[in-house]
Symmetry: C2
Subunit: 387 residues, 2 copies
């Protein structure tokens, strides 16, 4: 039986790698929908290759010209344009891959889960901003949230067949530590955008790369893990593991620890989510070579040098709209850093300032989440520009 | 509901640690039967503490005196003596812990499985000598074979919830490498029994400790893993991991690897087998401290310096009575080494010579297995004494 996929954010890094996995198993998957934002050229190529019935390419900041829409839809007979939310909930879709970046992933994730569908989730913001809404929707309608992130996939694989919940003592989320693991606080203050964009292991988008360097990314992953696996935040620990071979671990109440390992290639966790509950051989994927690995190291994280991680865990602990503010303020701060307006350590300062000024709302609705997001963006911009 | 246990080999290292776990969970387990060999004093203490209804203390080499039998049975009202096989198949027993050493574990393992019971297996010889018979009996009557060994427990835990079989690419069995990992061939020739009895990590019986030093133990574990998990021998790889933190790993066909980690304490895998499918917190067990671990290393094994490993894998590959000869010849050779009659490297020579002279029988019956065992013991003694 073919799995029918909708891929939201198909032209981004995760979207493209998802399509690589799909291409390796032409008998297993049918691409029913493709949704992209800015990269219309790349979307057109994908449409010609995968012949989706549904496409989506509205970008909220910049609507696509009507002529271009016509040209794209003419590429494949019977193809028509729908909003992402409609694609996510469409009757012909079995699994929705949410690989959009930013808050754009939130609304289609909810739409898919409302329609009782499972989602393969790479978008961080969905769970960070609306973890409670998203998981409630999944629980109510029976859809599953399958993580695409290597860390969450590792935890998911380690929990496979286990009772989870009360039998889990701790989640051990590994972090490469980013390119500035060994820098002093003073050296961190001098980091430039160019330096920060060079990640040692993973090749990702600009926003995620900066978030990896500040460890904000890891902090958001802690919040995501909390929602994905129902584990309390104070039972989730970040462990620095520069080799990025162990993708994360689970410690059980009996003292046994399970770890998932592999080469750092996003297609591995992507394929696992798509093939789940099966595992398929894929000759295109490399294998871990023990003779190359030889040694794996682990160390505690220094939250004083990487305050974004602490801010994220604190915001996650407070819950409600605090993680929304964290996420929005971070997005603004990273943009200000990339444009050279603020320094590397100012990212944490902007986020911390925004969180301090925030009056949180518990159990927020989608509207309250969006309002907190808009509020935080404005406040973060103010704080950032004041310097 | 209480699990009713029979513990065979209760006074040995694994037996005692099993009873420690039982003692930690008085509401979960009832000890119905205890069987021991030579250590009658220790058995008497256990009988007073656990009040088993059934006891067994016949040692084939040295029957227990009738007066002593009477004195022991008088310790607990209603307690009576039965052969190990009868205890293993007794109606009041739910799970049989087979912690006897040597071939004495074989016959009660078969008796338990024939009665449709599950066995928690620490005895190597049962699967090495009679893997085909044992697993056929388990499959036919529905009993499970739950491994107690840390390596096999690790693999079992990693396979939990997985489809296994064709989805498994490789089992990666870790080995500490024993005390002589860094010795040259020349240095190995000079190893004495005293040196060999000091194992860096695990405290075990004398036979197992020597087998750990020659890596024969690891070779037998490869054969056991083959039978326990139905994985071809050439898909089982031994990886040297001196820290003994990763207890073993499973590589799946999609390139994902799962590992199980923990402190080197046999009570962990013992408790897992007893509590399975649940996991229970046990404050008596230590926990892995990441700040202490810091680094894990892996390296390939050198089969030229540790030929026993190669002999075991070859014998396992040939199947039939060859692993019987391997096991029996090794037992004789280790005894000769411990008594100072042969050198450390002669252990492999004796085993290799016995295997060379053997004319194997495919799919042997229990009688053929016992005959091959007796034959090999005689031949090994001859080869060993010739020097």
């Amino acid at each position: 039986m073919m799995k029918r996929l909708a891929i939201l954010g198909s032209t981004g890094s995760i979207g493209q790698q998802t399509l690589e996995v799909v291409r390796a198993f032409p008998d297993r998957f049918q691409v029913v929908g493709l949704a992209a934002g800015r990269n219309i050229d790349s979307l057109a190529t994908q449409i010609r290759q995968f012949h989706p019935r549904l496409v989506s390419f509205a970008d909220e900041d910049r609507p696509v010209l009507p002529d271009l829409v016509k040209a794209i839809l003419a590429l494949v007979a019977g193809c028509h344009q729908v909003p992402m939310e409609e694609m996510a909930g469409h009757a012909e879709v079995d699994l929705v891959v949410v690989a959009t970046s930013g808050k754009a992933g939130l609304s289609p994730s909810l739409a898919a889960l409302k329609a009782g569908k499972s989602i393969a989730l790479a978008n961080k913001e969905a769970l960070v901003m609306a973890g409670e809404l998203i998981t409630a929707e999944a629980n109510q309608r029976g859809g599953e949230i399958l993580p695409l992130d290597s860390e969450h996939s590792a935890i998911w694989q380690c929990l496979r067949g286990e009772a989870g919940g009360k039998e889990v003592a701790r989640l051990l989320l590994t972090a490469s530590g980013g390119p500035f693991l060994r820098r002093s606080g003073q050296q961190l203050a001098a980091v430039t955008a160019e330096e920060a964009l060079e990640h040692p292991t993973w090749h990702m988008g600009r926003k995620v790369t900066i978030d990896s360097a500040t460890l904000m990314n890891k902090g958001m992953e802690v919040i995501e893990a909390h929602w994905l696996f129902g584990i309390p935040l104070d039972s989730i620990e970040v462990v620095i593991h520069p080799e990025s071979v162990v993708h994360s671990m689970v410690e059980f109440v009996d003292g046994s620890i399970k770890a998932q390992l592999g080469i750092p290639d996003m297609r591995l966790p992507i394929q696992y989510a798509l093939s789940y509950p099966q595992r398929w051989p894929n000759p295109q994927l490399g294998r871990l070579d023990w003779k190359q690995v030889s040694s794996l190291s682990f160390e505690p994280v220094d939250m004083d040098r990487f305050p974004c991680l602490r801010l994220a865990i604190e915001a996650g602990g407070k819950g409600g709209t605090y993680p929304v503010v964290l996420s929005a303020a971070d997005e603004v701060a990273v943009e200000l850093f990339l444009s050279g307006d603020i320094g590397f350590l100012d990212i944490a300062r902007v986020v911390a300032g925004s969180l301090e000024r925030h009056q949180g709302t518990a159990h927020p609705t989608l509207e309250e989440i969006m309002a907190a997001d808009a509020w935080a963006r404005q406040v973060a911009l103010e704080i950032g520009r004041k310097g």
